[in-house]
């Protein structure tokens, strides 16, 4: 025994060591609980990231659009309406009013990482006898590609866009019989046409998108669609994807635009994610509770078994505070030891499961997310759970009357 180590720590460790079997069983229980929590949390995080990636690959987290064009009834006088029927007007392609100001203001909002202007419209792409209707997205690569990560999905070429260049989906290129470096003719409904060279081909993992999406430089799209200097949308990237709806409402309230978050446009998907998070939280809470009760039960038994020891310790000058700490430390150590092993088992199990379960094409089903922060939080929470679970038994031990305790 070393006097440099507080007596409470020495006694706590010795008591745990002496009750080896009891200690081993409760650590096993904590290990299983923590391993389940780590496995489930990391698995669900990975699946969620995968789902989010799929949803947010080809669409921004918040999209700003011009306000709807609304027909207003004519008033013959202050009270009488001249024409009671207001026909809904056609939604022409119009620019966001003062889009530069809106973009700059939004880009400076807290939580917003990037805002990119785009010009969207429809066109017909032809090459030889082949032609396809496509959605043309006019973008500034520097601001747009950090939001929609087209460079990550390029199968050929590069993600640069000069005024005479175009990037196409792989399926669209196949349908047109075009390859990298070929030229295509792009014609808008207005009759404007432009010849563009294919500099990149991408695969978003979605056939419909690969068949119908194309990217050109912003100026090229503006010129093609007859909207010089205009943009039809501003794509916004934010730090916390789950804050998208709140931020969208803030943006819409402060600017003359309509703001649509990915949460609103993918309401069912978002509800599924929320349900998944809730069930995961519930599972963690119940596992945590069962671990806590397990620790408390073992320590209550330990207090009863050691009541004579407690009495003797009190007789030889151990204070109630020291007795309290001896049992609190035991709870904390049990939680920490079980959590360390549980983290290793949970992480190991997930790595094994990750290698076992693959998609049909052999790619991973979900990204392996084993973040240091998750382990730190798990270790901290498990230790805290151990301490809290030990509180009642420790108080009971500290309150023991030495005479009664020695008598047993």
């Amino acid at each position: 025994m070393n006097n440099a180590v507080p007596f409470e720590w020495i006694a706590a460790v010795r008591f745990l060591r002496e009750g080896r079997l009891q200690t081993a069983f409760i650590i096993l229980g904590i290990t299983i609980g923590v391993a389940v929590i780590v496995f489930m949390s990391a698995l669900l995080s990975g699946l969620q990231v995968n789902f989010l990636d799929r949803v947010l690959t080809s669409s921004a987290q918040i999209q700003l659009l011009p306000l709807d064009q609304v027909a207003r009834p004519l008033f013959a006088s202050d009270t009488a309406i001249e024409d009671a029927t207001a026909q809904r007007p056609t939604q022409r392609i119009v620019s966001i009013n003062q889009w530069q100001k809106v973009r700059d203001r939004v880009a400076q909002m807290p939580g917003v990482l990037n805002a990119a202007p785009t010009m969207l419209g429809s066109a017909l792409i032809t090459r030889g006898d082949a032609s396809r209707a496509v959605r043309v997205s006019g973008v500034e690569p520097d601001s747009y590609f950090p939001i929609i990560r087209i460079p990550d999905f390029l199968t050929e070429g590069k993600a640069t866009l000069a005024n005479d260049e175009i990037i196409l989906g792989t399926d669209l290129a196949t349908n047109l019989g075009a390859s990298l470096g070929d030229t295509v003719n792009v014609r808008a409904a207005s009759g404007n046409a432009v010849i563009l060279r294919i500099t990149g081909l991408f695969d978003l993992g979605n056939k419909a998108a690969n068949e119908s999406v194309s990217y050109v430089a912003l100026r090229t799209a503006q010129s093609l669609l007859g909207q010089a200097g205009a943009v039809t949308t501003i794509e916004v990237k934010i730090a916390d994807v789950y804050a998208a709806e709140r931020l969208a409402q803030q943006i819409a309230a402060a600017n003359p635009v309509k703001a649509e978050s990915w949460i609103a446009t993918n309401a069912q998907f978002f509800t599924a994610i929320r349900a998944q998070q809730s069930s995961n939280t519930l599972i963690r809470a119940f596992v945590g509770l069962s671990v806590a009760f397990g620790i408390a039960a073992v320590l209550v038994v330990s207090v009863i078994q050691r009541s004579k020891d407690i009495g003797i310790l009190r007789a030889m000058g151990t204070t109630r505070g020291q007795i309290l700490r001896i049992f609190l430390i035991q709870g904390g150590l049990l939680g920490l030891a079980g959590a360390i092993i549980g983290c290793l088992v949970g992480a190991g199990g997930l790595v094994w499961y990750h290698s076992l379960i693959r998609q049909a094409d052999g790619s991973e089903l979900f990204p392996l997310l084993l973040e240091r922060q998750m382990f730190i939080v798990t270790l901290g929470l498990a230790t805290l759970t151990g301490l809290l679970s030990a509180t009642a038994p420790a108080l009971r031990a500290a309150k023991l009357d030495p005479v009664d305790a020695i008598r047993g």
Partner: protein, 223 residues
């Protein structure tokens, strides 16, 4: 130690209220070797608990080294008990998670009384004095009853307490071991000047003490 008008009642204020000790006056002096005798239920253990500051009297004063313990809070009482009083029980009550040497070191570790080396040296010295140097690293389960009780005595002496309270320390030992343990206590009393108050039913042993205090029905019986 000076005890004056010590009374101890249980179930106070209830119909079942009962007074175990009825105003006990007693003085214990350094270097004394006393036997406390009495029939079961006479209040010996209750008195011993009060003298050992494990229990508080309902009325009366316990004064140790000039300090009236009635004015002390639980922490101060615990501290005083750790420094001034050592206990030897009928069962050895060694803490099984520790070796014999560690059991002897324990009161000094709890009190953080000196460095590790000094504590270890004192504990080893006590074990040697009691002829137990060879069992220092043994757990209590690997020692005989007599050895266990002598380790318990060494533990009681670790803090150089001025008073050792021994509650039937030889009660569970065979006569040979009992004689040995008793002789050890007597020897330590002479060498260290430590006051021993020994509760015993063994008249033969009691007669070897300097003084015999007899209790009956919660009061001291005049000899």
């Amino acid at each position: 130690m000076h005890l004056e008008g010590i009374r101890r009642s249980y179930n106070i204020g209830m119909p079942s209220e009962i007074e175990i000790l009825h105003g006990i006056d007693l003085d214990l002096h350094r270097g004394e070797f006393l036997a406390l005798m009495g029939a079961s239920g006479s209040g010996k253990s209750t008195l011993l608990n009060i003298i050992g500051l494990l229990d508080r009297p309902t009325a009366g004063h316990v004064v140790i080294n000039g300090i009236d313990t009635a004015s002390l809070d639980d922490a101060a009482i615990t501290r005083l008990r750790g420094h001034a009083i050592g206990f030897v029980f009928q069962e050895h009550h060694l803490i099984s998670a520790f070796t014999a040497l560690e059991n002897v070191m324990m009161p000094m570790i709890v009190d953080r009384n000196g460095g590790s080396d000094a504590i270890r040296a004192r504990a080893l010295g006590l074990l040697e004095k009691l002829g137990l140097a060879h069992v220092g690293e043994n757990m209590s389960s690997n020692m005989s009853g007599g050895e266990q009780q002598r380790v318990a005595i060494a533990r009681a002496l670790a803090m150089q307490a001025s008073l050792i309270l021994a509650d039937e320390p030889t009660g569970n030992l065979d006569s040979q071991s009992a004689d040995n343990v008793f002789d050890f206590m007597r020897q330590l009393n002479r060498d260290e000047g430590t006051c021993f108050l020994i509760v015993t039913h063994n008249l033969e042993l009691a007669q070897k003490c300097d003084r015999i205090i007899t209790m009956a029905d919660g009061a001291l019986v005049p000899v």
